[in-house]
């Protein structure tokens, strides 16, 4: 399949790059996954513990409620949200998607033969992609979505 996605350089399959065999049986090949899990748990625990140690404590009714993006969690759901939330959600989406695309690219790039033009093209592609993100950022900035007043 030579689809749009492949030709835009998003899916790595089109190049037939030497990929590690997926059916590898050694436990060692799962080590990175384990590392990731450990890192995630450590990060979460550390945050909780550190804030427990260093954070200021001011107890109160409001402080005790569930945190719901600044909204009162109890009461009617038919409330008007500030439109800024949507804007922030959109901006978040832009950067989130960017990350999603960057990971596979980064994972594939080292496998490319760096002596050929292919490497430059792959690099150019991701720069083009980054450029669009930058433009989205500039657009958001000029539109005033980062201003809160």
């Amino acid at each position: 399949m030579h689809g749009c996605l492949t030709s835009c350089g998003v899916l790595p399959g089109a190049l037939n790059l030497p990929m590690p065999p997926l059916a590898a049986t050694e436990v060692g090949s799962y080590a990175p996954v384990l590392l990731l899990i450990i890192m995630a748990i450590t990060f979460a625990v550390a945050n909780v513990v550190l804030s427990r140690i260093f954070g200021p404590r001011r107890e109160g009714n409001i402080k005790a409620t569930t945190y719901e993006s600044g909204m009162d969690p109890v009461g009617t759901a038919r409330k008007r949200f500030n439109v800024r939330f949507y804007l922030i959600a959109m901006i978040f989406l832009v950067f989130d998607i960017e990350i999603i695309f960057l990971y596979p690219w980064a994972a594939t790039f080292p496998n490319i033969d760096h002596s050929t033009d292919q490497a430059m093209i792959w690099l150019a592609r991701i720069f083009f992609f980054m450029l669009t993100t930058v433009i989205a950022y500039i657009y958001g900035y000029r539109k005033g979505v980062f201003k809160f007043d």
């Binding site: 399949m1 030579h2 689809g3 749009c4 996605l5 492949t6 030709s7 089109a14 093209i121 450029l131 669009t132 433009i135 500039i138 657009y139 000029r142 539109k143 005033g144 979505v145």
Partner: protein
């Protein structure tokens, strides 16, 4: 892959321009904001130039279902895009522009610019994105690509409809359009999925190879067939054809006239590009005569074409709103163009390879003609506004508002007359020369009943087009009628220019300048697949595919010439049963 990227330069140009206008359009300075339109125009012109292969000319070595469509299809989008662009200023953000006011009228002071309330940047960017999607449609060679391109064409239009006026009817139109559009997209996406399921590939060339193999092995499997039928029915939404046409009048009426003009051309062209690609993938080598699409697809298209023409024209007669008339006429024109799709590209070679016989060429040609004429009609609507007593503006709507236009505003009036006469297909205007190849290709393919229905429908259409032409030319405006407010010309004179350009085009392209366009059209229809196996005898096909239910008149096959004169039919029948084209082996 690099080669593929090189065919995408027009789209990349538009993309860069879209990024640029997104930023430029948010400037606080009015003169910088005004740069959006020239940037778009420049980008479209460059894209046109690039799509014609730059200085190197059109590259016709590219493979695919319709290789040349990628070039000329994009060029057509670029050129008509420029005319459409001239209508765009003033659609959004009028309050931030210095409304120049009519002659003898104080300019209205603009409001202070607020980025968050401004839509100029988005509107122009969406305009370009949609055209970019249309260009991508023209060059698609994969179902996924095609789907994404179709969606890229459609998604911006939903927003454009919604923000085109500050009135509730735009919101209503936008919501209707969005939901029905999503329904249409879901249907054709499901169809694409079935095609993938039935053939094992999303690449059109591979799909085609698989279909040829299936047909040779005893019949196209029913999943594939169902997929194509569903895809075409879903695409009917894009082209505003009958089972999916309900939104058209409401959306056209709800949207501002420039956006309605855009809707009448861009999604329709995208839908037709997609249908052309899909049908070219199937090939016209089935049916009793061996020159038809496979039975179910043929029947579906036949029924859709007849219903679309008839429903569009008959309902248009009942309308009073110009935009609703044009909307129903847009439905009817889709029906006309489907005749070309049904007729197919002919066998290739000799008399078969010209615009006159090649239905796909005829469809492309008609799209160009329709685009030019239609923009003219909508431009007139966009150029006239009714100024209410409270100072607000709204577009004119009723046909009665056009009365006496040729006397009061000759340019606009004549533009309307010429556009309406052109859409009617009155010789010697462009619409006639657009319809002629549809006629000849339909006749050449043996669909006489369909051609007669097409003819009768053109005559029905005369009734309402005559109203559109007669109101400005023959009727005079009663001053007492201006109850809703005085009718003034829009301060955005580019709209008048757009109308003028298309009116001149309608005349000039018909009288002498249409030659290059005709040759371009001829090459557009040359399928990368079809000629190699058109004309196989139907006996080889499975029973499931042979019966062509809607094929009524021509129960007598055309007398086949002895192959002595090298006629196509004879030659291909001889090659029947031989090994498939080497290219397909390769593709498989």
């Amino acid at each position: 892959m690099i080669e593929k990227l090189q065919t995408l330069w027009p789209e990349i140009t538009l993309f860069i321009a879209a990024c640029a206008v997104m930023i430029v359009g948010l400037s606080g300075t009015r003169s910088i904001r005004a740069l959006c339109t020239p940037i778009c125009g420049l980008a479209l012109l460059i894209a046109t130039f690039l799509s014609l292969g730059g200085l190197g000319g059109v590259d016709i070595t590219v493979t695919g279902p319709l290789p040349v469509l990628a070039s000329y299809g994009k060029a057509m989008v670029g050129v008509i895009g420029v005319i459409l662009l001239l209508l765009i200023p003033g659609v959004v953000d009028r309050e931030f522009d210095a409304a120049p006011g009519g002659p003898g009228e104080a300019p209205q002071p603009p409001r202070a610019f607020e980025a968050i309330r401004s839509n100029t940047a988005e509107f122009h960017a969406f305009f370009l994105f949609s055209l970019m999607g249309l260009m991508l449609c023209a060059g698609a060679d994969d179902l996924i690509w095609l789907f994404l391109a179709l969606e890229l064409t459609s998604l911006p239009t939903y927003v454009m409809v919604t923000i085109s006026t500050a009135r509730n009817r735009s919101l209503e139109a936008g919501v209707k359009y969005f939901f029905l559009g999503a329904l249409g997209a879901a249907i054709f996406l499901y169809g694409f999925a079935l095609i993938y399921g039935g053939t094992g590939s999303t690449n059109l060339e591979a799909v085609h190879a698989s279909i040829v193999a299936q047909a040779d092995a005893g019949g196209i499997n029913s999943i594939t067939m169902a997929g194509f039928v569903m895809a075409i029915i879903g695409l009917c939404f894009k082209i505003a054809a009958v089972p999916m046409h309900f939104y058209t009048p409401d959306v056209y009426q709800g949207a501002a006239a420039p956006v309605a003009a855009f809707l009448a051309f861009v999604p329709k062209s995208a839908g037709f590009f997609a249908i052309m690609l899909l049908t070219a993938t199937l090939g016209w080598s089935f049916g009793a005569s061996g020159t038809e699409l496979p039975g179910p697809v043929h029947s579906a298209l036949y029924i859709i074409a007849v219903l679309t023409m008839t429903v569009g024209n008959v309902l248009a007669i009942l309308q009073n709103s110009i935009k609703r008339i044009l909307a129903y006429s847009s439905i009817a024109h889709s029906g006309y163009m489907l005749v070309g799709i049904i007729a197919g590209p002919g066998g290739g070679g000799g008399a078969d390879s010209t615009l006159s016989r090649n239905g796909l060429s005829a469809v492309w040609f008609y799209l160009v003609c329709y685009g030019v004429m239609n923009v003219g009609a909508f431009a007139v609507v966009a150029s006239l506004e009714r100024r209410r007593a409270d100072g607000t503006h709204d577009e004119i709507d009723s046909v009665a508002d056009l009365r006496g236009l040729c006397a009061s505003r000759p340019l606009l009036g004549w533009t309307m007359v010429i556009s309406a006469a052109g859409l009617l297909g009155l010789p010697p205007l462009l619409g006639f020369f657009g319809k002629l190849p549809l006629f000849t290709s339909g006749v050449g393919a043996g669909h006489y009943l369909l051609v007669i229905i097409l003819g009768i429908n053109s005559a029905i259409a005369a009734y309402y087009y005559l109203r559109l032409a007669a109101a400005p030319l023959l009727e005079s405006r009663d001053p007492a009628e201006s109850v809703g407010g005085e009718i003034v010309e829009s301060p955005y004179r580019l709209r008048t220019a757009a109308g003028l350009i298309s009116a001149v085009g309608v005349v000039a392209l018909a009288l002498g300048l249409g030659g290059p366009l005709g040759s371009a059209a001829t090459s557009v229809g040359q399928s990368g697949f079809a000629p190699s196996y058109v004309g196989r005898r139907a006996a080889d096909r499975s029973p499931a595919v042979i019966p062509a239910a809607a094929h009524t008149v021509d129960d007598e096959p055309r007398d086949v010439e002895p192959a002595a004169d090298g006629s196509v039919d004879g030659a291909t029948i001889e090659s029947d049963g031989g090994p498939p084209d080497a290219r397909f082996d390769h593709a498989r």
